[in-house]
């Protein structure tokens, strides 16, 4: 275990010293830009747009971050031959792989924490502005209080926290997927391209599947069921993670649904890591 954490913290340190966190500036710029553009709208819409944009940006940024960071790891270590010196110590290839994955997760955690803090600060700042304006409009009294309560309800919602956790889970699945691909790929460009393709298919596939099933009648043949089962294993069903959209709209999402998504994510991470390990342990270095 100490070996895994040593490799993980080393991986994080590498990424930090390569200054990957500078991309956060871009994220901050987007958050500020959206808040500025939205400021002319009615408050409910304003918060809506801000949440939509911030969660959307968080999702895309964290996907890009983990996919690029993960895809580079193995090719770089093999090219620099740092892998030899590490594996010449009593470190198993599984420990190495888990260490790398954990390192990427640490990076993801820090990045998402920063993005969430930025997001909540932006949301809170807008909320305060709107409240101040509302109080000025209504003056003191129960009407004003009711209006402020309405503003508060529209702004922050505790469901946003699991929404962010779901984005984390989704990115974690993408990282494990990318690591699996790079365990047999020969170049990082290949890995990134396939990851992006799978990411897109993962979003489109469930829609296609439903359309297809609807078209071909209620009773799909067993061959087709098998095929569908297989594709949903290879291409994670990212539509499931779209409950984030429901949350943004403000719809109540039951707890078991969150649980289901996390469990599914964990399952994908496990399978990808296992397959990645099988490829990696047989790989000629």
């Amino acid at each position: 275990m100490s070996r895994i954490t040593a490799i993980a913290s080393n991986t994080l340190l590498e990424l930090v010293r390569q200054k990957v966190f500078y991309f956060m500036l871009l994220f901050a710029a987007i958050a500020i830009g959206v808040a500025f553009v939205a400021s002319g709208m009615p408050f409910a819409e304003q918060f809506q747009v801000l949440k939509d944009a911030a969660l959307g940006a968080t999702s895309i940024f964290s996907f890009l971050l983990v996919t690029l960071a993960t895809a580079m790891i193995l090719p770089k270590e093999i090219e620099d031959r740092t892998l030899y010196t590490v594996l010449a110590k009593p470190v198993s290839r599984l420990e190495y792989l888990l260490g790398k994955l954990l390192g990427v997760y640490l990076l993801l955690f820090v990045a998402m924490l920063l993005m969430s803090v930025l997001f909540f600060v932006a949301l809170f700042a807008r909320e305060q502005l709107v409240i101040a304006a509302t109080l000025k409009d209504y003056g003191p009294g129960p009407d004003g209080e009711a209006a402020v309560a309405a503003v508060k309800a529209a702004a922050f919602n505790w469901n946003l926290v699991p929404a962010i956790l779901i984005i984390f889970t989704k990115s974690a699945v993408c990282a494990a997927l990318t690591l699996m691909l790079s365990s047999f790929a020969t170049s990082w460009i290949f890995t990134v391209m396939i990851s992006v393709v799978i990411y897109i298919i993962g979003h489109v596939q469930p829609i296609a599947r439903e359309a297809w099933l609807a078209q071909s009648g209620v009773n799909p043949s067993s061959v087709m069921k098998l095929f569908l089962g297989f594709t949903s294993l290879v291409f994670p069903d990212f539509q499931l993670f779209n409950i984030v959209d429901e949350i943004v709209v403000g719809n109540a999402v039951p707890g078991w649904m969150f649980g289901q998504v996390f469990a599914l994510g964990l399952g994908y991470v496990f399978i990808y890591t296992l397959v990645g390990y099988i490829f990696f342990s047989n790989r000629e270095l």
Partner: protein, 282 residues
């Protein structure tokens, strides 16, 4: 104790060449044993399979056939690497770490505790002469400095066996002599060393035993002294000998039926001369 430090049994390694029918036989049915406490030199021309052999011993490359063991433990097992330190050829480390952090990191991988790790890192940096560069990033190290940090890294868990792939490549003559002395020091402490080098002179100075590889095959193997001494000749080195004495010796030699093969002034070797001139001898 009787167990060999390294045992290589009928190892063959074939590399397929992608998109072609050909294959490269890097190591061809190689068997050899390194006894504990020995310094073993693996020699051979470029591409003869020395590095490949070392990687197989460390479990970094899977042999096509045969097996290797380190102190009786199969190389494919992670535990076999607990007792061995490896210096790869042209070693590279994480460029973003400093020398000190690098040793810390490898110490962690070997399961050393925090306090021990610190001590050990300082000690090793001093041993390989890098105290001055301890807090500089490896990205800025010169080739010889990389070689030194590589050696320090190999020693981090105080292994009983060292596998060194061209330990003195790129190191200046004084440093190269320091490394030679370090290796002699390891030998005195009973550490087994397997090394390969193209500097035959150095190999001759430090190795007990050598094996020569050619196209993946072991073509000659044995104790160094046995391999290179010319059995029927004897060397005399005289100081302040007068020409008369030399003439007398030549005459006596001829009378006894022996033959005087040659007579020359011993040369100071270039290394010694270089060190005298650059003051690296102290």
């Amino acid at each position: 104790m009787s167990e060999p430090a390294i045992s290589i049994q009928h190892v063959t390694k074939v590399f397929p060449i992608p998109f072609k029918r050909e294959r490269v036989v890097a190591v061809d049915d190689l068997s050899l044993t390194v006894e504990p406490g020995q310094v073993y030199g693996l020699l051979g021309p470029n591409g003869s399979g020395k590095s490949t052999t070392m990687k197989i011993v460390l479990g970094l490359v899977t042999p096509t056939a045969g097996k290797t063991e380190i102190f009786g433990c199969d190389s494919t097992r992670v535990a076999s690497r607990e007792q061995v330190g490896f210096l790869p050829e042209n070693p590279y480390f994480y460029k973003f770490l400093t020398g000190f952090e690098t040793l810390q990191f490898f110490g962690k991988l070997c399961g050393l505790r925090a306090k021990k790790r610190d001590e050990r890192a300082r000690e090793l940096l001093a041993l390989v002469g890098l105290e001055g560069a301890a807090d500089r990033r490896i990205g800025g190290y010169s080739k010889g400095m990389l070689q030194r940090i590589g050696l320090a890294q190999a020693l981090v868990q105080e292994p009983r066996l060292l596998v060194l792939d061209e330990p003195t490549a790129g190191v200046d003559p004084a440093g190269s002599r320091e490394i030679r002395d370090l290796i002699l020091g390891f030998k005195a402490r009973g550490i087994t060393v397997l090394l390969c080098s193209h500097l035959l002179e150095q190999v001759q100075e430090i190795c007990d035993r050598v094996g020569i590889l050619h196209r993946g095959k072991l073509i000659s193997e044995g104790r160094l002294t046995d391999l290179i001494s010319i059995e029927n000749q004897t060397e005399l080195i005289l100081e302040n000998a007068s020409p008369e004495l030399l003439a007398e010796i030549a005459a006596t030699t001829a009378a006894s039926g022996a033959r005087l093969v040659g007579q020359r002034k011993p040369q100071q070797n270039l290394e010694r001369y270089f060190l005298d001139v650059t003051g690296g001898n102290q």
